[in-house]
Amino acid sequence: MAVQPQRLEEAYRPSALTRLRSFLDREAVFAWIILTPALLILALFIAYPFVLGIWLSLTDKRASVPGNFIGIENFIKDVQDTIFQKTVVNTFVYTAVATVFKLILGLALALLMNQPFRGKNLVRAFVLLPWIVPTVLSTVAWQWMFDPSYSVLNWTLKNWLGWSGAFPSWLGDPFLALCCVIAVNIWRGVPFFAISLLAGLQTVSLELYEASAIDGANPAQRFWHITLPTIRPVLTIVTLFSVVWTFADFQLVYVLTRGGPLNSTQLFATYAYDTALRGGQIGLGASIALFMFPILAVVVFIIQRSLRREAH
């Protein structure tokens, strides 16, 4: 008689597999399991280089010789460096001007493409081209367009617009060179804005437009009170990405001007590259690159907050 309950217990004791299953079924465990691969990738490819970057920026490491810890000396040197000061200004101007133009032009293009017209899909595909073509390739093409000897721009000025006298030296003048790199950045970035915002525009409910039309709202009012608020989250995210990419841009400037003339197009990334890899001052170069981090962190934080407020 006394044996039976024991047997029952035995019979109902869950098998190892079932126990494992129930263990895995626990939220805390399962969450960790599915998170682990991503965390490992993050740690390996983002956290490690980032931490190494921070460490290097605190040393006087040079190419081929180990560095010593020197605290924040590199950062102090950066701030006192006139080329660095110029780089900071350049980067802000580059990012601000390019982003504003990309936003305006991208929105205009998105609104245009959102209208029904023949060959709409084809146009949408073509608009993406500048974004798809590898930056280095398209920038080399731009370099030819700005080239003083072969410039199609100067040719147009001369033959179509009747320009006489000295041609502008597109990449030779510090101010024009900055304008040129900004222009190419806008050209490359507009498709990203246009296509993303187009996706946003397509989520706007037609009923809202109809209702507002019945209430007598004109197109401008409809844009301001319906379109813009609806696509605002997309707009914010797209702008955030663009700011980050533009701020940390490298390829375009490096191909087009190598930071010159007179460092007038030097950005954080190009100056860090020049300092660390050409000048061999790896620690100092790392500190220049790291200066981007707090600035970008602030940008991300501000936009995240505004997004969250939006969500509430």
Binding site: A31, A47, V51, S64, P261, G279, I282
Partner: protein
């Protein structure tokens, strides 16, 4: 959207994110700890090993070469060599052919990796830091000084070649022998000379190329008015720009630093005279495009018949001859005009360094030595058509330098060769000033309207930070 709906009831999103965040933070801190504790020691440990293996390899290689003089050497594996794409493809092809020949003979697979000149240095630093990459790097200027500890001691080969072939030119010696130890084998010099259009010069009444910078200014004004300007880059680029502006500074008696390599000496009446002269030349002889030019631009502009003269290697001349350009016979070369202090030249030189991290050091040393031997070296010089000047004096007899009277001038320029940072030693600091384009930009800033005095003062401040980093 659907993901959120599925997820919310099981794990609240906030909780999920919190966990994920904590996990990420934990891992990051772990990595930080690891990097902070482990890295410096491991770095120094590895570099110590590299240095040790470098010197071991050095002695072994020396042994092998000494013993191997009579027997055949046994190599295997692979060799990678990094170099620039020179402006004379025929020479690059010959180099590759020689590499294949040596490879076949020695059972080694040799790969020549040729990239644009501006990219060689970043790649070199990346390879040194990763301790992996090309076994041999063809370096420019004074790079052996910058990467001394990463390079194999080449004393054996260097001294052999030196005794056998009449010695290296002094400025090449200065660039390659670092603190008494040869760290690379000077391969060649790519000197600059002014290439010009004879007929266009005649049109403005100049029978030959100006001998001094004052004459240069006179003739240049006329050529600009005739819409055939003489141009030379003032841009941020590695070869032509320093080739012009360091030399220009020296020829006027200016210098960035004293012989001690510490006392910054840029702020002098001589520099002021040089900068003022450069501004006059920029305004009256050049066009603003020169500020954007890289090493390629003057080749393009000259071949497009847009300019009458530029300072360059022999590549413009060689290309126009090869392409049978209608103006090929109208070209001539001339030595750089002289300043009040005579002539001086920063010459682009190429030197082969064997990397300490290489797994095939012996083979690399043998190859670098082998290409300097007459059978190979003479062929390569000839393929280059006098574009490159020999580094070892006894190759002076190569017929390529006398065959074409238009090219003899390049050989003459060698005697004016100086190191970057002259009269100081070829140091790390000189290279930093070089890589920041400080001297070039001093001239460019003044050309763009900055008062010459201010441009010099700015440069002085930057040079001081480099040469005396600890002085406040």
């Amino acid at each position: 959207m659907s993901d959120n709906v599925d997820m919310t009831p099981r794990i609240p999103r906030r909780k999920f994110l919190k966990r994920a965040g904590l996990a990420a933070a934990g891992l990051t801190l772990g990595a930080a700890g690891l990097a902070a504790c482990g890295d410096p020691t491991s770095t120094s440990a590895t570099s110590a090993t590299t240095a040790a293996s470098g010197s071991n390899a050095g002695t072994t290689a020396a042994g092998v070469t000494a013993a191997g003089a009579s027997t055949t050497k046994q190599f295997s594996g692979e060799l990678r060599l990094l170099q620039w794409v020179s402006f004379v493809p025929a020479a690059d092809e010959e180099f590759k052919r020689q590499a294949d020949e040596w490879g076949k003979k020695n059972n080694v697979k040799v790969t020549i990796e040729a990239i644009p000149g501006n990219e060689v240095q970043p790649k070199t630093v990346a390879a040194i830091e990763a301790k992996a990459g090309p076994d041999i790097i063809q370096m420019d200027y004074n790079w052996p000084w910058l990467y001394e500890t990463a390079l194999v001691d080449m004393s054996k080969e260097y001294n052999d070649l030196k005794t056998k072939f009449g010695g290296f030119f002094p400025f090449l010696e200065g660039n390659s022998v670092v603190n008494g130890t040869p760290r690379a084998i000077p391969y060649c010099v790519v000197p600059g000379a002014w290439v010009y259009r004879k007929s266009w010069f005649k049109e403005v009444g100049a029978d030959k190329f100006p001998e001094t910078w004052d004459q240069f200014l006179d003739v240049g004004k006329k050529l600009k008015a005739a819409n055939h300007p003489m141009l030379q880059t003032m841009g941020q680029t590695f070869g032509d720009s320093p080739g012009m502006w360091y030399s220009f500074l020296w020829e006027h008696g200016g210098k960035e630093v004293m012989e001690d390599g510490k006392t910054v000496a840029i702020n002098s009446p001589e520099t002021l005279a040089a900068v003022e002269k450069a501004v006059t030349i920029y305004n009256n002889v050049f066009t603003p495009d020169v500020l954007a030019w890289d090493d390629n631009s003057n080749n393009k502009a000259f071949l497009a018949e847009q300019i009458s003269a530029t300072l360059n290697g022999a590549s413009i001349y060689l290309t126009s001859k090869k392409q049978n350009a209608p103006f090929a016979n109208d070209l001539a070369h001339a030595i750089q005009p002289a300043g009040p202090q005579g002539r001086a030249a920063t010459q682009l030189n190429k030197t082969h360094a064997v990397m300490g991290y290489s797994k095939n050091v012996d083979a690399a040393r043998d190859f670098v030595n082998w290409i300097m031997q007459p059978d190979q070296y003479n062929k390569w010089l000839e393929a280059g058509g006098a574009y490159s000047i020999y580094s070892l004096k006894s190759y002076d007899s190569n017929p390529v330098y006398t065959k074409d009277p238009n090219l003899t001038v390049f050989k003459e320029t060698i005697q004016y060769g100086r190191n970057v940072g002259w009269p100081g030693p070829p140091s790390q600091a000189a290279s930093q000033a070089f890589s920041k384009y400080l001297i070039v930009n001093m001239f460019a800033a003044a050309a763009k309207g900055k008062a010459p005095k201010d441009a010099i003062a700015d440069t002085e401040a930057e040079l001081n930070k480099i040469y005396n980093p600890n002085k406040k």
